[in-house]
């Protein structure tokens, strides 16, 4: 039951209207080959969940430039001017989420929680349309969990069981998203044998990883 797949097999996993979650921060630690696989697949109308939309030509940026995305849920879109332009033109729906709220919403989605009670955004536009709860005298927003049909992740090393380790700041959202999608596909810099990774230093256990791009 090998988890290894080719670019072609990866491309076939994506469908129109899917929700796709991508690791990466400003393109660093983003699965650029899997982004290419999505482009190859000709899939349209993706809802994209990501820290940001990177630059036009890095990370998930090309998904925006190539009109594959109908909605973005992200904390920052400023470094990719295409995102803002398409938003203003009404071609792209953008939901801006504080970055820490995004992390906890994805955690909630992956951990079976009903939502997040966060003080972040109270008294700002982020509060608009949301239920709030007062707990011990303080006000919290009820933020909903986030899950995706497919998570596309980038790891430094994976073994053939899918255990993952990350390098430096390329870790970011990748381990959090590994829990929050029905299908988890990982792109790696180096594929190693089972037993090569120390079980104490594995960050994402292989049981969370469905497919590894060979």
């Amino acid at each position: 039951m090998s988890k290894l797949i080719t670019m072609k097999e990866a491309a076939e996993l994506f469908k129109d209207n899917m929700t796709v979650m991508s690791g990466g921060f400003m393109g660093v630690g983003a699965p650029e080959k899997l982004v290419t696989a999505i482009l190859d697949s000709n899939v349209q109308d993706i809802t994209l969940i990501s820290s940001d939309t990177a630059l036009e030509d890095t990370g998930v940026g090309p998904l925006i430039a190539n009109n594959r995305v109908k909605k973005v849920i992200a904390s920052h879109i400023g470094t990719n001017p295409m995102t803002g332009k398409k938003m203003i033109a009404g071609e792209l729906d953008v939901e801006l989420v504080p970055q820490g709220t995004l992390a906890e919403r994805v955690h909630a989605g992956g951990a079976g929680l009903g939502g997040v009670l966060t003080p972040t955004g109270v008294g700002t536009v982020v509060e608009e349309g949301k239920e709030t709860l007062e707990i011990d005298g303080a006000k919290y927003l009820i933020e909903k969990p986030l899950r995706a049909d497919i998570a596309i992740l980038k790891a430094y090393k994976a073994d053939k069981a899918g255990n993952l380790v990350f390098h430096q700041s390329a870790r970011n959202f990748n381990p959090v998203m590994a829990l929050a999608a029905d299908l988890v596909i990982v792109e790696v810099e180096e594929l190693v044998e089972i037993g090569d990774l120390d079980p104490d230093t594995v960050v994402t256990p292989g049981v969370l990883v469905d497919k590894v791009l060979a």
């Binding site: 955004g121 700002t124 700041s169 870790r171």
Partner: protein, 220 residues
Amino acid sequence: MTTLKTAKEVIAERVAKEMSNGDLVNLGIGLPTMVPNYLPEGIDVILQSENGFVGLGPVKSEVSKDLVNAGGQPTGINHSGAFFDSLLSFALIRGGHVDVTVLGGLEVDRHGNLANWIIPGKMVPGMGGAMDLVTGAKKVIVAMEHCSKKGAAKILNECNLPLTGKGVVDLIVTELAVFRVTDDGFVLEELQDGANIEMVKEKTEATFTISSNLKIKQFS
């Protein structure tokens, strides 16, 4: 010979004095990143980068494609640093583990409200980690020039722009003055080199009280 300092340098130098040894500090992009250059002797701080590490420092021998700061620029990490994921990074931020955050500001009002993430009608960059930082950091310092480029006041009775955080600001440092935000509004704590109360009043829309211990910075 005294070298004339820029407004940004004056601000960064003053903000640096707010740091205590060992503080975990998160700096916004731009002016705030100048603060470490002015840390007093014996004061070392640990810098957090919200994309997932502590111990941010200068690039050492070579640039790593996997090591960038929260602005996406190549950076380095100290020997005592550590990497982690975004969940832990924002647990640090929201959970009060960051001692000080220094951010720029478009507007601050006497309720401690801060607006610095969006100007309606202009491109919307997104709040990134700023809303979490102002909510969670133990001390929120706004480091900004006293007025806008067009000369408009930025220290107001009530913010006009959409807020980044409500009642979150502890201190404002400008090239003219240092204001503390209290439950009773702004208190002028300090005048920078060359500034006087009249000048500050003129450039500040907000009402403020003057500290009985008002410090007036000496020419250095």
